[in-house]
Amino acid sequence: MILAFREYIIQHLCCVWMFYEKWDMMKIFTCKNRFEDMMTCIYDAWEYALVYGHENVSLIREPVVQLSFMDEYIHIEPDADKVKKVVRSIIKSISYEAYMDVYYAALSADDTLDDIYRFLNVGFRMGPALTRMLTEPVVIRMMEHRRKVGNEIHYWREFTRFNAIENKVYVAHIEPKCDVIYMVAGHFADRMTSEHFMIIDENRKYAVMHPADGEMYLTDLSDSEMNVLKKTEEYADEYRVLWDVFFHTIGIRQRENAKCQRNMFPVWMRKHAVEFMEKK
């Protein structure tokens, strides 16, 4: 009798536990802030959700700031095959346009991972119409992400400044919020095909290298490499001086308007722009 009661209690507890797991516990998939990791994360979360339901998964980009005790977290490592599968099915079952939305959103400074997941969730049901469905909140959110990242890419096309090292290599330092140096460099690879240049992301500590007439590639930078490269901004270069003269001459005094200037060229982007740097 006592034994039976024990059994009963245990069984009951299990039931409660299962009930608890089924209804309250969220499975949270987390990954590093890189495109490949995010696509793999989406793949794994999706696979899990096919059994337990999309409403029971959530995706967060690391670092996870606030852990909740009620939920279970799994860290996902990138897997090239899964990335390929995800990308292929987005393009095939939804559209290339949708894939571009996903790609841009993945570069965002904000955590867009869960939005991407929900976006695909609607997308795999609706197909190619997805990106035109502006009455769906998640579609609008993705459009916003893309716009934001796209704007930042455009900004850096404008405001990136190269320093010439002996008129042979052109080095730029930028501190973008979103992960955009590769997209930015693509623009310069077309216009300066026959020049050596590199663009350094000061915060993420990596760079795009473009050898003259060659293919560009990404590379991580060590601290000592960063330090050496830092010096390129102090190189004496007569054209920096000439640009400064031009810049300070071309404005019209009677129309001076610092506020408008700030709106157009945000202060946080001026750090490495010659015309706004402090004169040594």
């Binding site: 096309r157 026959s194 007439d213 054209y239 001459t249 001076e256 610092a258």
Partner: protein
């Protein structure tokens, strides 16, 4: 005075010749897409790229300089006129090329904007300018953007050459009527400006056809859905037929009277591209500039002239430049006159209404009401005068009509058209699509009802809208917040 000053450093020259060029506004680099490639430097992007913003908040896209500020002419409004005692300088072609290429490689600029004072005579000046551009294209292999301002009175051959080397060509009208031109620019005449403008226009059209394109310049995509657009074939043609107004552009009978430029001997001029294909003639089109407030014309005259310029010469852009008094002259506003920035802003707004919204000059202004309302923008002003057609239902109204609602631009209008096919719209959704409800809500219903219970009554809405505008107007008149680019936000054009 033709002796070029010896001994000036490049830095000093740059200071003098940028300072002399700064009043020209057309510093955009848009309108042409061209890929880069091995062995050359540069490409061009149709969207245009600004590289910095000067202390006046205006965009810096091009190395905007004069070749020289020596000038034998005496235009009253100009700092470089012969009767002014200013320091003069001249660049050599090599100096201009070096500056352009080196600035470009550092990503300071998108290309070159070359203009000049008249050195000896128009032909000599234009020859020198073409020599510089040819050097830049052929020796320095510069493939980036070039805007050249031609000198009124230069020969057709030189005009042809300039157009083959540059992306955009401009001839500044400066003043919208023959009388003002006579008064303020005694060495120029309407004919020396309009004739080359017409020739360039015809040459661009011929060249476009030769390259298998439509004769007319590309316009914002939305225009094809706008019945009233000034760029519609019918509207373009109908204008060519009528030449009523006197002393204005329509009168010159541009298309029939003037031949296109002869491009046949360009091969000898060495301005063919490397692969022997013809470089298109001024692929980013032609533009012009008018000074606002130096002479007495009304906004109506300026806007009509603008529309005619677009329709007769298919200009890509018409720019306005608020007159800044630099010279003491009885024919000009006094030196302490503030530049009419708000008026300039209203004209740009109206210009956008012509180019993107399917409005015509006559809808916005008239003989009876020849100037813009300073308190509210031209689009709100128009809507207030047509309250009988509002409010419109966003769920069903035509694209034409939606675009005429204040607070809705081409981008949000397009989104509305797309979205409503897949579901019903809400005010919340409209806001997310970029509709400025603060302005729009007086003029629309969504799902049959208005956002608030507001009377459709002119005085009431006018008061409300003026409240919404007053901060912006104050900022423009107090040069706190002026920039042409703010139009992008106002109108949501991308």
């Amino acid at each position: 005075m033709f002796e070029l000053q010896k001994g000036l450093s490049v830095q000093e020259k740059l200071h003098i010749l940028a300072d002399a060029a700064k009043y020209d506004v057309a510093c955009t680099s848009s309108g042409v897409d061209r890929k880069g490639g091995k062995g050359m430097l540069g490409n061009a992007r149709a969207c245009g790229i600004c590289h910095s913003f000067a202390a006046d908040g205006r965009c810096i896209s091009l190395l905007k300089i004069l070749m020289t500020n020596h000038c034998v002419y005496d235009c009253k409004y100009c700092i470089n006129r012969v009767s002014n005692d200013v320091q003069r300088a001249a660049f050599t072609p090599e100096e201009i090329c070096e500056l352009t290429v080196e600035f470009y490689k550092r990503n300071y600029i998108e290309g070159l904007f070359l203009s000049s004072g008249v050195l000896r005579n128009p032909t000599y000046t234009m020859e020198k300018m073409c020599e510089t551009l040819a050097l830049l294209r052929n020796q320095y292999h510069f493939n980036g953007y070039i805007h050249v301002k031609t000198i009124p009175g230069a020969s057709d051959e030189l005009l042809a050459k300039a157009g083959c080397l540059a992306d955009r060509i401009s001839i500044n009208l400066e003043l919208p009527t023959e009388e003002s031109l006579k008064e303020l620019a005694p060495n120029k005449s309407f004919q020396t400006i309009i004739n080359p403008m017409a020739k360039v226009s015809n040459t661009i059209a011929e060249n476009r056809i030769a390259l298998g394109k439509n004769a007319h310049m590309e316009r914002s995509f939305g225009n094809r859905y706008l019945r009233g657009s000034i760029f519609n074939d019918e509207n373009m043609k109908s204008l060519e037929g009528k030449k009523e107004n006197t002393g204005m552009i329509g009168q010159t009978d541009a298309r029939s009277g003037l031949k296109a430029l002869d491009l046949t001997n360009d091969r000898e001029l060495g301005i063919y591209g490397a692969s022997d294909h013809i470089r298109p003639f001024a692929p980013a089109g032609q533009s012009t500039q008018m000074i606002i407030g130096a002479s007495g014309e009304s906004d109506y005259t300026l806007l009509q002239t603008t529309q005619r310029l677009y329709q007769s010469f298919d200009l890509k852009r018409v720019f306005y430049s608020a007159y800044i008094p630099i010279n003491e002259d009885s024919a000009l506003p006094s030196l302490d006159t503030a530049p009419p920035l708000l008026r300039e802003h209203r004209l740009y707004q109206a210009d956008w209404l012509l180019r993107f919204y399917g409005f015509q000059a006559d809808e916005l202004l008239s003989e009876e009401k020849p100037d813009f309302n300073v308190q509210i923008d031209p689009k709100c002003d128009w809507a207030l005068r047509h309250l009988d057609i509002f409010p419109i239902e966003v769920q069903t109204a035509s694209y034409d009509m939606i675009l005429r609602v204040p607070g809705i631009g081409p981008r949000s209008a397009k989104r509305i058209m797309q979205a409503r096919r897949y579901g019903s719209l809400s005010y919340e959704g409209l806001k997310k699509m970029g509709v400025v409800l603060k302005r729009a809500h007086y003029f629309i219903t969504c799902g049959g009802h208005m956002m608030f219970k507001t009377p459709i009554e002119e005085k009431y809405i006018m008061r409300q809208l003026i409240g919404a505008h007053s901060k912006e107007n104050w900022q423009i008149t107090h040069t706190e917040q002026y920039h042409q680019m703010s139009l992008f936000d106002d109108f949501g054009v991308s």
